[in-house]
Subunit: 162 residues, 2 copies
DNA sequence: TATTGTTATACTCTATAACTATA
DNA sequence: TATAGTTATAGAGTATAACAATA
């Protein structure tokens, strides 16, 4: 009789954490070719969706303190991907925008994202992929997650090899 | 005419990363009451599934270098949750095992996991939950993920508030 | 000579908290 | 007095590499 405690099989929560970390690692690895980290890619996407927001707002959404956001944005500005614009009405704030170069890179990023999606979902039929999408969107919505941001952006340099 | 570039909606990969980080953060927060981090909980589960493995093997599965595993295991040993047993046949290795106290805590952990699962999947019917489980397991299997471990264990102290 | 476990150390990253300029 | 942005700094966490014991 070797009947000890029954080992519970992993549930949805564990699989989401596992697959999520796996997906994030693969994506980080993929975009090293574009010389971007996931958090940098996230900021570019956020600026495309809502241009002109303040550093404070963006830092909040990314889950990082303003003191960390400054050098984070500095690098992207030095690379000519984003630009800071003064607001004459309130000279304390910077409005952040994508440059043309930033928009171009965002296009390459979208391509990388599509290939990433394809490889990650290779085990699914097209129909299954769509059904999965529906369920995950419903969960994300009910859990109060916003479309553009996710908590993993806090980690500035995840190991690409995950 | 405000038709600029069409903003692509997030796909499965992004939602998995987002929900996965969210789920991991909620779980981390939940088990602070048991005074455990996700990585510590992961080790306890690994020892329940396969007792007696060496520190080297376990460190590899957890994605951490041996030098980091030692103080990590030290703490759990000092708290009486795991124990190191010498192997007379090869005196270099320690075989790690759960103590009775560790098994008890693992039971509380399982309960926390069930409540976590319930809240995370609140938006789904029971049937949808099961269908989601099937799809995620198939993906995890095809992507080569092992049942007990996930790459997020590398992060020793994720913000509980995620 | 190779491997397990351990320790030491240098380095990176981080949050906290000042500080400035504007409001 | 409060807020956006910035800078400084002290502390925590990490990987790398050396080391000791055993094979």
């Amino acid at each position: 009789m070797t009947a000890s405690a029954p080992m519970p099989r992993p549930g949805v929560a564990f699989l989401l954490a596992q697959l999520g970390a796996h997906a994030a690692g693969l994506f980080a690895e993929r975009i090293t070719g574009l010389d971007l980290t996931p958090a940098q890619a996230g900021l570019l996407r956020m600026l495309a969706a809502r241009p002109g927001r303040s550093q404070r707002e963006l830092a909040d959404d990314l889950g990082m303190p303003p003191s960390r956001f400054v050098p984070f944005a500095d690098e992207l500005e030095e690379r000519g991907l984003i630009e800071r614009r003064r607001n004459p009405a309130d000279r304390r704030v910077y409005a952040l925008h994508l440059t043309g170069k930033g928009e171009t890179l965002l296009g390459e990023l979208a391509q990388a994202g599509m290939e990433h999606e394809r490889l990650l979902c290779e085990a699914l039929t097209d129909e299954e992929h769509d059904r999965l999408l529906v369920l995950l969107r419903r969960m994300a919505d009910q859990q109060g997650l916003r479309p553009d941001v996710h908590p993993g952006y806090r980690n500035l340099r995840p190991r690409p090899g995950a």
